[in-house]
Amino acid sequence: MRADPLLVETVERMFAENLAPENLSEAHRSGGAGFTALAREMGLDMVLVPQEQGGYGGGWPDAFVIAEACGRYAAPGALPEIMIRRWLGHGADRAEDGASPLPMPAGALLRSAQMAGAAQGLVERTAAYCSERRQFGRPIAKFQAVQQQMAELAGYAGCMQAASQQAFAAVQEHGMPESEESVAWLAIAVAKCRCSELVHPVTQIAHGVHGAIGFTEEMGLQYFSLPLWRWRAEYGRDADWAEAVGRRAIAAGPGATWAALTR
């Protein structure tokens, strides 16, 4: 099942209108209440709720679209979490209570999409910046040393996107895992492990290419990098997921491990 193209279009338009780089600090200053209210008005928090219960009746690939866009546009507020709590059947009051953690592994799944989005956001910001910034008489994007780093950055972001999307697709096909034995568990483990692991090189390159200006509040990279540094440790660090995956692989042997990866 692919995401609903109409939803993709709606999300892109609404996010681009409300979260343009020049409006980002204003949107964050208000704690994101305005953006979240608008997203709720459009029913984006109800994407996983069945239609007969007043929801949008979408699937996990649709949820990926929203969570990824929240990362990529550095959306303020807690729309992704609210979306998951709505799926859990929580009413408005509980759904919007940001303090309580999400159940595992739904939280890990969600974070992988947000991280993949934020990494892609950094790719776009950094590519734009290095095409504008001139040194030695030309845009720094014209230097091979910068190009090679940008290619690496884009590859990592592409990897995070693919791993996370695969996990959402697995949950759509096989259901939210209830244990490590469940089919979709490994896909979530792969996504959270890889996305968390790649936060380091992604933020390193994005900040490195920006130089000092990227360390200023005004530039706004913190709307991507600060959440990335937080998210990589939430709902299991990469090492935690890797250890669980590794133990299972060693116990199961090569044939069963391959079979689990290709279910």
């Binding site: 090679q148 290619a151 690496e152 590794g246 692989a249 990866l261 290709t262």
Partner: protein, 374 residues
């Protein structure tokens, strides 16, 4: 995955269980680098070659995703697919797209039967990463083409029936203009000399191929004269995005896990193994998404470059990671543990992973161009 793809997977696994029973580790470790004509013929008989080619030319008429399933199962099991690999992956699709009807009817069924070995004539002694600088020339004659020059690093040229070659046929304003692709019958064309080059592992798999007034027929030209560059770019998207770009070391991983199972693994070994599995799973997701784009008729050159760049770096890191996880040295002797033999082979072969099909620097240059930076 759709049920059709998963039932095909079960068929392939059953076929491989049987067909690989007597294939030694040294061959399984090489996998798509190992040529075994008998094995390729069996794969052809089973209908696993040319799986996504049209039925009317002897193909399987199935999807790119289903083809992907066959490839990854072959690689994971270490099937020696080298004899038919290039034909199935890129030469067959190229001929189907640009070849004449007569050519398709003559060649494609033989590819599907696993009877034809192809090689790819791109690099030359002075043209490696800078492929557009190539100089081997095909000059028009009254009845066809006269070829002079040298190709190098041509994998399997000494075994192949045909080469798909990129020759200079004209001059353009840009260096990548004036290039054309040809189908060269390596076994029946006078004026072609093939000299194997021994690699650091002592194997002979790549070659120097000399063309000395070699005459090709008019219809040896594939596609459009002087438009070879665009065709090659499409072909390279097929060459760079497949599962062979991250599964070349699978035999090593397959031998590593049982050793850990027997000896027990500490926390750090478990974490390291888990990171390997996670990388494998994520690269597979990337490669699958390229297969989906190919299925939709796109030519995802940028995404393919990403798969190959990240995939080969992963493959190349495996021998080192394995040695961190288990304290057993590489050993190529036949009485050494299979794990040690695989480690030896992979350690020696790993440098080749990032040079075949485009170096990392070139791939990252393609990605940077895709980002609009060049």
């Amino acid at each position: 995955m759709p049920e059709g793809a998963q039932s095909l997977r079960r068929e392939v696994r059953a076929f491989l269980d049987d067909a690989l029973r007597d294939v030694p580790l040294s061959e399984r470790a090489l996998s798509w680098d190992a040529c075994n004509p008998d094995f390729s013929r069996r794969m052809g008989e089973a209908g696993f070659i040319g799986l996504s080619f049209p039925v009317e030319y002897g193909g399987g008429g199935r999807t790119q995703l289903e083809r992907f399933v066959v490839l990854e199962e072959c690689l994971a099991a270490g099937a020696p697919t080298g004899f038919h690999w290039f034909a199935d992956r890129q030469s067959g699709p190229l001929i189907l797209r640009y070849g004449s009807e007569e050519l398709k009817r003559r060649i494609i069924p033989l590819i599907c039967r696993g009877e034809l070995c192809f090689c790819i004539g791109m690099s030359e002694p002075d043209s490696g990463s800078d492929l557009a600088s190539l100089r081997t020339r095909a000059a028009r004659t009254s009845s066809g083409w006269r070829v002079n020059g040298t190709k190098i690093w041509t994998t399997n040229a000494h075994r192949a029936h045909y080469m798909i070659a990129l020759f200079r046929t004209g001059e353009g304003q840009r260096r990548n203009e004036g290039l054309s692709q040809f189908l060269v019958d390596l076994r029946n064309t006078p004026g072609i000399r093939i000299a194997p080059i021994r690699d650091i592992a002592g194997r002979e798999h790549f070659n120097e191929v000399h063309f000395e007034d070699a005459l090709l027929a008019e219809d040896a030209l594939i596609g459009v004269e002087n438009e070879g560059w665009a065709q090659v770019t499409e072909e390279l998207a097929l060459e760079r995005s497949g599962p062979e770009r991250y599964l070349s070391c699978q035999a090593l991983f397959n031998e590593l896990l049982p050793i850990l199972g027997e000896r027990g693994a500490g926390d750090s070994a478990a974490v390291a193994v888990g990171r390997i599995v996670a990388q494998l799973g994520a690269l597979r997701a990337m490669s699958l998404s390229v297969a989906a784009m190919l299925e939709d008729g796109e030519s995802p050159a940028l995404e393919a470059a990403m798969v190959k760049d990240m995939g080969t770096r992963f493959e190349q890191s495996l021998p080192r990671l394995a040695q961190e996880i288990v304290d057993l040295p590489p050993d190529g002797a036949e009485d050494a543990l299979p794990y040690q033999q695989a480690l030896h082979l992979m350690t020696v072969l790993a440098p080749s992973f990032s040079l075949r099909g485009g170096s990392g620097e070139i791939l990252r240059g393609i990605i940077a161009r895709g980002l609009g930076l060049r």
